[in-house]
Symmetry: C2
């Protein structure tokens, strides 16, 4: 018999923390907490296997589930001495989802389950608080009707609005018992009218709730969240059925959400928010402004609401103890939910807390220094892509800020963009290439995709644990929430602060670390790579075995990459050096020449520029390896297409515009990606490669003389498909090297290598390696050719491909490991079979993608090369790959 | 000690026929002939290994070569009782090249080696023919100076021209001894002036001759010929040093070239040409019009020169006997050279004769029927690509022919094209896409590349064994040679026959089978596939195991392919059916629609056309398998690009031209080959596939009902990269199949398959085969993606790639077996691992290339599919592959 149900409570549990695949994160932690003596309301968890069964069997349950649930339910009744559906002393339940990983705000929850027209009377009597009982019943009806039966909650809100208006109430809790009873009657009418009455039978309620949780696994926003976070659909969710405890049963009750450390900054203080006489949903939903946990935070923030430390000093002490117990037990920062019912503390949940990149870094470093975890664990704690937010620009220090309002610093970082007022508008703007700040009263799960494409998020309402704040921190987006004094008009599309009216499209800057809302576009500057960051990255470098280089050809990029810890240049694209206005004319002259002699004349003019480029790079890199790629793009990319520009070029070169036009037409290609480019150019015009080689070698010699540091330039040919092609393509390089060395009377070591970016090159890599001393995988082009997919054109169908799961992720962002990865693996094996010590790198965009970096580590590459800003991420991913799959002895 | 030299002569030989790799074809056959008692002038062969040594060791010889040559030379002296360099009774040598395969006209030859100022006197005395001796010396000097020393022969021709003019001579042999001596003196002066005197020392002459032969292996025209015929450079040539015999020593002497069967038609008659009192070079060079061998040929041709049968009846009988001996011995048609010196017959050479496709077919069939060879040998005798010429069109029977001249039917077949007068002009015309007939006085090896690109060749001079005739037959090009009465003026670029003057660019037709030269452009018709052809192809089909289908979608092509023996359709490109003017408007309407509903409306109009297309194909194919490919090209291919056409379309569809322009712009792609096409279309617009599937299945049901023949349509998706993609792309097909079957109340078997044309598809072929019942390798696109090379754009660099040997052949014509072939092999292995009985085909252009067909046989494909005209070639190649590497038990 399969065990579908696991009980917990009263210092015992059938489950454990390591059973999260079966029980979900929440269920496993409830069991674990219960086992270690934390006060947890008793309950039981229905396993994720039931979810799988449910979807595989046409939305039905295993035959023996019912019996197991009833047995577990009886156990809870016995533990608490109350009975489910009992009219005198009713037991109420919450029903919550809980997947293997946390999906905040994604899954539906039902509270107060077990209330009906009769048990509500029992609850009122037993609690001695009629208003609390009827308010609970009202909440239950509304929630159940919405979540389980699909009655739109706006219908119920209208009723509340009317009652509030008629009575001049500001809050719902001002309603009298009679008014609540009236509301309940109207709620029932609404449901009847919709043909969806809320069942009176508590067991029917229970099964309805369980079914709703399982169903919520496949709602659109859950699917979107999973896709965004790479969570497989097959994992499923568990269902947690737990005895209700009430934070809203009076003024000696409260409910809150807290963290063992500050999830925004990582500081080791007790952090969180609570609300007196409220249910948990009230805190998270951001409708009331919550109170701080501690006096310190209260003072720091200048909040005038009392802290829990002041209002509930004893319970606070107990909770602070639990905070330490849980962090020591789980060895990670915890995100906890608690409720105080009539002075008694109950822990509802604990889980590893979501945190900003900055907090993740600080917590990992400090926990390692405290001895709570070791360095390797600290390294594993940082999500490689979360590190990204630490590398993002901040506002210039000391720059004038036109601060128009100040809210909570909900997610750190700086954001600048045009104002938009809806997720849809944000997505539209993204498509148009505009950067936006999403401004909302509050956010809901429907807004997630819009938040994802925004630079930052501003919400008028909500606390530090509001939906907007939690999601933004997870995404690494700057967020300011709960800003007093601002008005948002969705219809007029305006944001008003006092007299100031900002419209859609106006520029706005947000400082998510201070909560400042700033008018206009602030200038962004680079973050500093010191302190905890420097410490952490030094641990990373101790661990990793995979090298990390950068793709750079400008001194600025090269310097940035060095600052980020790049260990050399893996790809210097020489053609980028030709687009400078002073140089492009010579390039064009070269292309428009009809004889080799004339081409050489034009190239001679480019030589000094290109030589200086390399001297600059070598100087910045101070002897670290530099791989230079010979000219790659088709020549027509250098010629102007517009008539006026063509005339200008013709004039400047003293030739007829017809010549320019004719040459442009001649160079036109049907599929330039597969055309006359790469080493094919050097085959036709060896003089180009000769010039480039001369610039490289002369620069290397000059640099070595001046700096006294030896450099061994690595020269590589693009788009090679066979050994013979590489031999011919690099013949000019080898010849020039000999010449330059002879002229300078100096010996210079250099290396000949090749891009591997064609499937054919992978197939014959063993032969290519006879000549090539190194391979650099050009996974951009290799993806294009292996998949037969043009990066420039894929926009019209690739999103659908990802949506339909044909490719798990955008194959141009994260390496298609099954397809392109297999080609790379083949080339690695073949290359090593000929030249066991061959140097192997990757220099496509994928080199900065953590999943790809791990793949590269696992197949034995020597290094990855990525854009400067991705260098720290690649270093981290490399270290994590080493920890997961050690290469070092 | 390596044996570098092999002797032969006097009924003995150190070599054998099967040593052609070492001795070359000529050397091996001289040895073989000598062994079986054929009268061969004694001599020796220097092996091809010496050639290899020569090129690997900076043009030097092995140390012991000299001694071996001298020993062999002594043996010849002893056999003939004459001495090399002897002033009384001098022995003279010919020095000839001889590679593993015959390279006619490619290699240099030196005759009369051993003559000098003293030995010429001895020769005169001994032969009693002073004029012959001095003429031989003159010839020797001219040839040696030209071939060995590089003195341009025009300098010598000038001397001869002057002497002829001064004396009113028509031929050189009219010169007196004194005039010859004068000429010799002038020749020597010319050489001295050039600083290149011909050595007097016979041994110096000999080594000069040997060196010249080895050097000639690397001259440009030899390299070109090898490339054209796929002969590796490493084979090298042997050198044959053989005692001279003289066909020009008087009227009882002669020389000739003959074949055991007619090399133009294959008829079993003694065929050839000879010249009295001449050297062999005179026959081949085409300067004098040679005489026929037999009375029959003489009568048939209406020649008024006596035949050898009449002039030398006894020797003719002996030669005819040798003809039979040699063909029986070699079991193939022989091409022989002979010389009669003073009434004695000497065989100089025998080799397998070059022949036209028609002759090859007839000889193979007749030899098999005679029992000389078996059927498999007959099949191997036909070069698969030579069969091509039999499939070429001929002139309509009975059509009026404006015959302006008649020459020798040197190479059969019909040619129509514009007149050009040089190989350069022919090549230029080819580049411009014009078809030409090359008209020359006579051709030389320098003309080969021009002949290659011409439709046919016309030479004013030369016989059936002239350079033009031999080369044209090898190429399968129609050729008419030796046309009396026509004048060619290279400067004026005119061809004059009587009063008629044809200019460059005028249309001319040639009938290479009758020798007729026809004014204007004749209409071409298809050859009949009966008689020997039918018999031969039936043998082919008995042998082969690989299936041969065709790529066809029009009834005309399908019918042609059936006539050529296609066993089904391997690729019906449905998009080709949309370009008909009646249909394209609906297609455009579909593309310009913005809603699925509108698209469906437009598609509904296309449905009846498409259904009828398939009914037609099924009817022609009579139940043979038909593979239909779903829509493949990007949609913009169906939209007009010109403003006027866009306006027309807009008008016809009643929409604004801006809509047409906007949609066209929207569909524009940077790299359409890698864009929104193939199964990607069906993913975006499943309704297109639904319509196509409906047409296929409705047609299949209607056809089956009408014809009572079951058809199982094979539906395939293009550009598939993964299993999931194929599943989604074909979901519409499966759904439609169910619908159509339900509607018709009929069960229909059908097969789902896929093109394999992306490297990624090869990599994941095992998974794709879970869904796909068959693979069809689209090697056009697979070549483009594997090589990263656009077929449309490769023209600017691919010729250089082939010239530099990066690709052995054009990879779009003959499969790049190392690169693309490896991908195909991988996919075959992976596909079979999942589905052992998976049907495997190829439908790229390569399917009709013999080398590719053999490759497909060897890796275990089920069938190849090619254009209708390539079907017989593919069948032959398949049979040859089976013989070489049997699959059938």
């Amino acid at each position: 018999m399969t065990k579908w149900v696991y009980t917990f409570g009263d210092g015992k549990a059938e489950g454990r923390a390591d059973m999260r695949n079966l029980l979900g994160g929440k269920g496993a932690n409830l069991a674990e907490m219960s086992s270690i003596g934390i006060p947890v309301p008793p309950g039981f968890t229905i396993t994720t296997e039931v979810c799988t069964y449910y979807y595989e069997n046409n939305h039905t349950y295993p035959a023996d589930l019912k019996e197991q649930v009833l047995t577990a339910l009886k156990e809870v009744e016995e533990k608490l001495g109350r009975k489910f559906g009992d009219e005198e002393n009713p037991l109420l339940f919450s029903v919550r989802s809980g997947a293997r990983v946390s999906m905040p705000g994604m899954m539906d929850t039902i509270l107060n389950l077990g209330l009906n027209d009769k048990t509500v009377i029992g609850l009122a009597k037993k609690s001695g608080n009629e208003k609390f009982a009827y308010d609970s019943y009202r909440r239950f009806l509304q929630m159940y009707a919405d979540v389980v039966l699909g009655v739109h909650s706006s219908l119920f809100e209208k009723v509340l609005d009317r009652v509030r208006e008629e009575n001049g109430y500001q809050f719902d809790n001002q309603m009298t018992v009679d008014q609540l009873k009236e509301v309940i009657a109207e709620y029932k009418e609404i449901c009847d009218k919709e043909g969806k009455p809320v069942p009176q039978d508590p067991f029917e309620q229970l099964w309805g709730g369980i079914g709703a949780v399982f169903s919520s696994w496949m709602v659109e926003r859950a699917i979107y969240y999973r896709k965004m976070n790479n969570i497989p659909e097959t994992w499923g969710t568990a269902v947690n059925v737990q005895a209700m405890v009430f934070g809203n049963s009076g003024d000696n009750s409260a409910t809150g959400v807290c963290f063992t450390r500050d999830p925004a900054t990582g500081e080791n203080i007790f952090y969180g928010e609570y609300l007196k006489n409220a249910q948990g949903e009230d805190v998270v939903a951001g409708i009331r402004t919550p109170q701080p946990m501690t006096k310190i935070v209260k003072e720091r923030r200048g909040v005038d609401l009392p802290s829990m430390e002041e209002e509930f000093p004893e319970t606070f002490k107990q909770l602070d103890g639990i905070r330490h117990t849980l962090e020591q037990h789980y060895k990670d920062m915890q995100d906890m939910e608690f409720t105080i019912q009539d002075g008694k503390l109950w822990m509802l949940q604990t889980r590893n807390g979501k945190r900003t990149g900055a907090a993740a870094l600080r917590i990992a470093v400090e926990q390692a220094e405290e001895g709570l975890i070791d360095k390797k664990t600290a390294i594993m704690r940082l999500d490689a892509s979360a590190l990204d937010q630490l590398l993002h620009p901040m506002f210039e220090k000391g720059a004038k800020r036109d601060v128009i309002a100040k809210g909570l610093p909900a997610s750190p970082g700086a954001a600048v963009g045009q104002i938009v007022f809806s997720a849809q508008d944000a997505e539209k703007a993204k498509e148009e290439g505009r950067k936006v700040v999403l401004v909302r009263v509050e956010t809901s799960p429907e807004d997630i995709s819009g938040m994802h494409v925004s630079e930052g998020i501003l919400t008028a309402r909500g606390g530090m644990t509001s939906h907007a704040a939690v999601v933004a921190r997870g995404m690494g987006k700057p967020c300011v929430s709960g800003v007093p004094g601002i008005k948002i008009d969705y219809d007029a599309k305006t944001l008003t602060v006092g007299d100031l009216v900002l419209k859609e499209g106006d520029m706005l800057s947000l400082d998510g670390s201070t909560g400042e809302v700033i008018k206009g576009a602030m200038k962004l500057v680079q973050p500093e790579m010191t302190g905890n960051f420097g410490k952490f990255m030094s641990w990373v470098d101790e661990v990793k075995s995979l090298g990390v280089r950068t793709n750079a050809e400008t001194p600025m990029d090269a310097q940035a990459a060095r600052n980020f810890g790049a260990e050399g240049i893996g790809l210097a694209r020489t053609e980028h050096m030709f687009f400078d206005p002073k140089r492009i004319i010579h390039m064009r002259q070269m292309i428009l020449s009809t004889t080799e002699e004339d081409r050489r004349k034009a190239l001679d003019k480019l030589l000094p520029y290109q030589r200086q480029d390399f001297i600059d790079l070598f100087t910045i890199m101070k002897g670290l390896p530099v791989t230079v790629r010979l000219l790659d793009p088709p020549l027509h990319e250098f010629l102007p297409n517009k008539r006026e520009e063509q005339e200008e070029v013709a004039k400047e070169l003293g030739i007829s515009v017809d010549v320019v036009r004719a040459r442009t037409a001649q160079l036109h290609e049907a599929n330039p990606m597969l055309g006359h480019r790469g080493c094919r150019l050097g085959l036709t015009y060896p003089e180009i490669n000769e010039m480039q080689a001369r610039a490289i070698f002369e620069a290397a010699i000059e640099f070595s003389k001046k700096e006294g540091v030896t450099i061994e330039p690595e020269v590589m040919s693009p788009l090679v498909g066979s050994k013979k092609e590489l031999d011919i393509a690099t013949a000019a390089v080898v010849k020039t090297a000999e010449e330059v060395m002879k002229e300078a009377g100096v010996q210079l070591k250099y290396h000949i290598g090749t891009m591997i970016e064609l499937p054919r090159a992978c197939v014959v890599a063993d032969k290519i390696a006879e000549t090539a001393e190194f391979f650099s995988f050009g996974t951009n082009d290799l993806t294009q050719t292996t998949l037969g997919m043009s990066r420039d054109d894929a926009g019209s169908f690739l999103p659908e491909y990802v949506a339909k799961g044909i490719y798990e992720k955008d194959p141009f962002a994260s390496l298609d490991q099954e397809g392109v990865g297999s080609m790379v693996k083949m080339a690695v094996e073949k290359g090593k079979s000929t030249r066991p010590n061959i140097k192997l790198g990757i220099c496509g965009e994928h080199g900065g993608d953590p999943a790809t970096v791990k793949f590269c580590h696992n197949i034995g590459l020597t290094y990855v090369s990525c854009s400067p800003y991705r260098v720290p991420i690649a270093r981290l991913a490399a270290a994590q790959a080493e920890i997961e799959n050690p290469r070092k002895k």
